[in-house]
């Protein structure tokens, strides 16, 4: 399995963002010449029960009968879910194939989204998923139920899609000198995805000197890559707000940044920068762990 070319993995669930996820995924697949796979997971919620017979009695062969009953019921439900998932996958596939450049494969897996992406991680180049799934579809201030867990458990770049697709022209790297940020710069410099784009290298730091020094380092690294126009900028203030403001001001289409570099406990006490960005940003984020 590992001998295959690493693929772009797009996670879809039929929610509002599905189409955008497909579009961004096929944009990446086309640019990087990687195969595209569409993933739909079937979550079974074993912690809940579907039937309840409160008669409270057990007769001959009670265990066997109950087993038979539960299996039949779950079989029917699973079949329906698989069918439903297939429809979603087929719709997405048709949508992508309209471009006649990308021909995605589709896959369905039982269990949690997190389990599924971890299982497929070895063969994944980049993961694309929507900011909100079915659960939080209409809640504007919340991020998807499993998003943070997925981001934390995966060691691949993850593109979080939150709006309809526009082909990125201007991208922004949120740079703070950390390992993750340096990795982001390196990735942008080496990946074919960013060829021909304008890259804004943005550093939020209240200390002017540090910011200048950090930006100089990063700019030189980026400049080594051909075909990328680099613009650097220094910002002050609260990182998430400053970045979001810059994003709107300069029509940034995509933001690249490190994600969840602290432990869960740290974030629980102090609040997570990544989480704030996920809630506030209007444009897709490419997260690196």
């Amino acid at each position: 399995m590992n001998t295959q070319k690493p693929q772009v993995l797009a996670c879809i669930d039929g929610a509002a963002l599905t189409e955008a996820v497909c579009d961004y995924a096929s944009w990446i697949a086309e640019k990087t010449d990687a195969p595209l796979q569409l993933l739909h997971t079937l979550n079974h919620h074993h912690e809940t029960s579907n039937s309840s017979d409160l008669s409270g009695n057990i007769g001959l062969g009670a265990q066997e009968h109950l087993m038979e009953e539960i299996v039949t019921l779950e079989q029917q439900q699973s079949k329906l879910k698989i069918q439903h998932g297939k429809v979603i996958l087929q719709a997405a596939k048709t949508h992508i194939e309209k471009s006649e450049t990308i021909y995605p494969t589709t896959t369905q897996r039982h269990g949690d989204l997190i389990e599924a992406v971890i299982d497929l991680e070895a063969n994944t180049r980049v993961l694309v998923l929507g900011l909100r799934g079915q659960v939080h579809e209409n809640a504007d201030n919340e991020i998807g139920a499993k998003l943070e867990a997925v981001i934390r458990s995966l060691h691949r770049p993850i593109l979080i899609v939150n709006d309809t697709f526009t082909s990125p022209k201007h991208i922004m790297i949120a740079y703070d000198g950390s390992d993750a940020a340096n990795k982001a710069v390196k990735m942008v410099a080496s990946s074919p995805l960013y060829k021909g784009l304008t890259c804004h290298l943005v550093c939020v730091n209240n200390n002017e000197e540090t910011a200048t020094k950090l930006l100089e380092q990063a700019t030189s690294k980026l400049k080594s890559a051909e075909d990328i126009t680099v613009i650097s900028a220094k910002l002050t203030g609260k990182a998430d707000l400053a970045l979001c403001a810059y994003q709107q001001e300069h029509n940034i289409d995509l933001t690249v940044m490190g994600a969840f570099s602290h432990t869960r406990l740290h974030d629980m006490l102090l609040g997570s920068f990544t989480h704030k960005m996920l809630v506030n940003t209007k444009k897709p984020l490419l997260l690196l762990r």
């Binding site: 919620h45 074993h46 809940t48 029960s49 017979d53 409270g56 009695n57 057990i58 265990q63 539960i70």
Partner: protein, 497 residues
């Protein structure tokens, strides 16, 4: 770590869990009373135990949705202890049982369950069902015709009420049976035995009590012979039930955590004046059937049971024993593995012998631990016997070198060692013998000494003996099987079979 559990284990299925827990609590009350009577203690001992065990295993058990409480399997083991030494020694034995189970949990003895084969589990379950039924017989012998009529009517309610439209599936039929029979008995003022005649019921919430026994060596000598089988049977039934719930709900459970959970629950029961208990197969099935899946169902069952018995004790006293007997006969029927009787003909004879010997030993000794021991022993013997057939020795004569070459294939161990020796022809007058062991496996010392015997015998007859492939053959005499857990190593040892 024992307190950690996933949020969805508690809150994933609130409505289903609360309803199922209530149904289970209603069925637990008659059972707890009946099992207290089996053990020869006041009903309150079983009721306190049921509350405490259900409550604690809900929080720290390893199998969400499984129901644990005072059980018949455990009650049967404590009869003589209660008769000879009284309640306080039972409480002390319960405490010790819990301690043993916690230790078993930390030593990960739960994994020993893999030695208990399917046939032994079936035998255990069937024996349990028979014992529960037999325990009802004293209530049904030398009694008036009213008792028989009441019991029959009770069974009728239990099995026919669910067919009543609308309410049939909402009201638990065992509850309907108890309420109606109690009403009839009170209305007609029947002179039959009631729960109130069997001993004290709880009138307060349970209180913390250290068992009043002297902390001496003698006490330990009295309770240890009871605590060990109690601990073993408790863990066996709990782990079997956990597997059943695993299968029914298509989820997994932490068996070693369940051992620790059962232990702590029994320690708690001992300190609150309850008897030892474990998981209940019948109740767990009822719970799953009623829609219970999470920890909440077990906790609701425990709390609801306590509330009802403390506040309704005046009413519970009036329940005729005939109603309890009907409920217990239902539990017995529901626990029995009906399939094992239907498939008796299709199953191999050895499986049937294992199952039936387990049942026989249990019914005879009233000790489930002994039954399981006999069952596991038979299973091991049958297995050894089967494997010993996978051994054969062939021979060819090499005329050029005048050497007889024996090829040994298969498994040589204690059970096949004698047959191994018999396969050599010592009467043949020959100068050279070569034994090729490349495709043989020598599993133990018996196999090695059998080979020694063969070599010595040939030498006495004047032959030169050459062994080929001894290293390959003896590489299986190892106790550290961990090395052989990967496919390549297994292929090296087992190659050619």
């Amino acid at each position: 770590m024992l307190l950690l559990s996933k949020k969805q284990d508690w809150l994933g299925n609130i409505r289903g869990d609360v309803l199922a827990g209530t149904v289970v609590a209603l069925a637990l009350i008659p059972e707890a009373i009946a099992f207290s009577i089996i053990a020869g203690v006041d009903p309150k001992v079983g009721l306190y135990a049921s509350f405490c065990i259900a409550f604690i295993t809900a929080i720290i058990g390893g199998r969400p949705g499984m129901i644990s409480a005072a059980t018949g399997a455990m009650a049967l083991l404590m009869v003589t202890l209660v008769k000879d030494h009284g309640l306080q020694y039972l409480l002390a034995a319960t405490l010790l049982t819990g301690v043993i189970q916690v230790i078993a949990g930390y030593f990960k003895l739960g994994s020993l369950m893999s030695f208990v084969s399917r046939s032994v589990v079936t035998g255990f379950v069937n024996a349990l069902a028979i014992l529960i039924f037999m325990a009802q017989l004293p209530e049904l012998t030398n009694v008036t015709w009213e008792v028989y009529a009441m019991t029959a009517a009770g069974l009728g309610f239990i099995y026919l009420f669910p067919y009543v439209p609308f309410i049939g599936k909402i009201l638990p039929s065992p509850l309907v049976c108890i309420v109606v029979l109690t009403g009839v008995a009170m209305y007609l003022n029947l002179d039959i035995r009631t729960v109130g005649d069997m001993g004290e019921l709880p009138d307060t919430l349970p209180i913390f009590l250290w068992p009043e026994v002297p902390l001496t060596w003698e006490t330990l000598q009295i309770i240890l012979p009871y605590s060990v089988p109690l601990a073993v049977v408790g863990l066996l039934e709990s782990l079997m039930t956990a597997t059943i719930v695993d299968d029914l709900t298509d989820t997994t459970s932490d068996k070693n955590r369940e051992c620790k959970g059962q232990g702590i629950a029994n320690i708690g029961a001992g300190l609150l004046g309850g008897m030892a208990g474990c998981a209940m197969i019948g109740q767990s099935i009822i719970n799953v059937k009623s829609g219970g899946r999470g920890r909440l169902s077990t906790m609701v069952a425990g709390i609801f049971l306590l509330i009802m018995v403390v506040f309704l004790d005046e009413w519970i006293k009036q329940i005729p024993m005939a109603a309890l007997v009907a409920v217990m006969i239902m539990v017995s029927i529901g626990t029995f593995s009906w399939e094992s009787i239907i498939h008796l003909k299709q199953h191999p004879l050895s499986s049937n012998i294992i199952m039936l010997s387990t049942v026989t030993v249990v019914v005879w000794t009233h000790n489930l631990a002994l039954g399981v021991f006999v069952g596991v022993l038979f299973a091991a013997l049958f297995f050894a016997n089967k494997i010993s057939h996978f051994m054969y020795v062939g021979s060819v004569m090499n005329d050029e070198t005048e050497t007889r070459i024996y090829h040994v294939h298969g498994q040589v161990f204690f059970n096949s060692a004698d047959r191994f020796v018999e396969n050599f022809d010592f009467k043949e007058a020959i100068d050279k013998v070569s034994i090729d062991l490349t495709h043989a496996h020598f599993w133990d010392i018996s196999a090695v000494s059998a080979l020694d015997k063969v070599v010595l015998k040939f030498r006495r007859e004047g032959a030169e003996v050459e062994l080929i492939g001894l290293n390959e053959a003896s590489s299986t005499i190892i106790d550290r099987f961990g090395v052989y857990d990967n496919p390549e190593e297994i292929e090296k040892v087992m190659g050619g079979h």
